[in-house]
Symmetry: C2
Subunit: 202 residues, 2 copies
DNA sequence: TTAAAACGTTAACAAAAGATAAGTAATTTA
DNA sequence: TAAATTACTTATCTTTTGTTAACGTTTTAA
């Protein structure tokens, strides 16, 4: 995917939050950074400060942690036309507690933290950029609200069934043990859940 | 607690995000609503649109859900000097999926949704209000990020031990079965966890 | 103040999940 | 392409959790 198309996709996504006119876009474009990740490249590594806030024009990423025993624990995924960052690390400019890694070759349109600072002080763009930042945070906040709600009110099996409903395409692209972590269970347990669901007891 | 003190506490909290000068405060104050809740009064009810975004000057609230079988499931708590709203409902102006109820008599400094709209278009205050909104959303997003992380990487027992560390005072004020829900386990299970922790096997 | 309701603990049993290991299939990569 | 690695399932055993019910205590409300 070339930069023109990446920018196009980025614009479309941003405008689902806030509308910018042509002049504003010309100015905003100066602050964008294009980043290409190959499969397994890191967008952020644990212990390092997340420098960019990214939009996935193409590809996908996985957010994970490494336990003391070396096991990788997957928290989350982001796909094309979604945003990506180690949010807390980016916002607070503190070392990330997670890794964010490309699941496949991935094209990103990014804004660095220092450019975000400049944009939120920019005479022409400040107001809309603040609003954009707020709406993005609110969007993800609502996602997390749902996710916490699910952990509290649903069993792992129910969470998996729910995920099957609105994430068929997603599930097919992701190794199952990553999904298991995402649901908060072990891969072995997810395998049993699948067995229970697909081959009901006679 | 009288309104002067409530406003004082509110100002202090807001200024931990964004600084407003005296003139700005005088203007902003026009948009505030003071709400008193008696114990067990609702701040928001399920199915109704959350009209206010509130700051708890004194008191505390509990966020909960009612399951099909009538059981109440507690999601979250907010205490004095914290913000409260059914975030998703307030932001999207759609019916709340949860109840928010006062755990004790509670004094709130609130801004209505329509006033938030006016403030984010206000010639004097817009920029700072947008920033305030963004920083608040980011703050809560980080809280949720931690909470989801805890569900994925920790056992209920570990989550409880963690909660004991930084929430001693909180735990003493809240019925234990509310805490159990918050941790994602049943009250019976939390009782067993407590037994395991406090009376270690000989 | 007394009766009713709500709380927390414990017990007993069933269901589910974790840990470990083994075995097969699929994918990677040298 | 062959060897190595990774992924998924299955089995066994242990631990934890859920469910239901009982019991004494505390709190609430009539």
């Amino acid at each position: 995917m070339d930069q023109v198309n990446q920018l196009q996709a980025f614009k479309q996504h941003v405008e689902s939050y806030v509308l910018f006119n042509a002049d504003e876009w010309l100015e905003l474009e100066k602050y964008l950074t294009y980043i290409q990740l190959k499969k397994k490249d890191y967008f952020v590594e644990k212990g390092k400060v997340c420098q960019y806030f990214g939009f996935i024009a193409a590809g996908s990423v996985r957010y994970f942690n490494i336990r003391n025993d070396g096991e990788e624990i997957t928290n989350f995924f982001s796909f094309a036309n979604e945003l990506v960052s180690s949010y807390k690390s980016f916002v607070k400019q503190q070392p990330s507690i997670i890794y964010v890694q490309a699941l496949e070759d991935t094209s990103l349109v990014c804004i660095s933290h220092s450019n975000i600072q400049k944009l939120t002080e920019h005479p022409l763009l400040a107001h809309k950029m603040e609003r954009f930042g707020r709406l993005v945070a609110e969007y993800y906040l609502c996602c997390y609200e749902d996710r916490v709600q699910a952990f509290i009110t649903q069993s792992p099996e129910e969470r998996y069934v729910e995920l099957l409903k609105d994430g068929q395409d997603v599930l097919q692209r992701i190794p199952q043990h990553y999904v298991a972590n995402y649901l908060g269970v072990t891969p072995v347990s997810l395998s049993r859940i699948r067995k229970r669901i697909f081959i009901p007891a006679k």
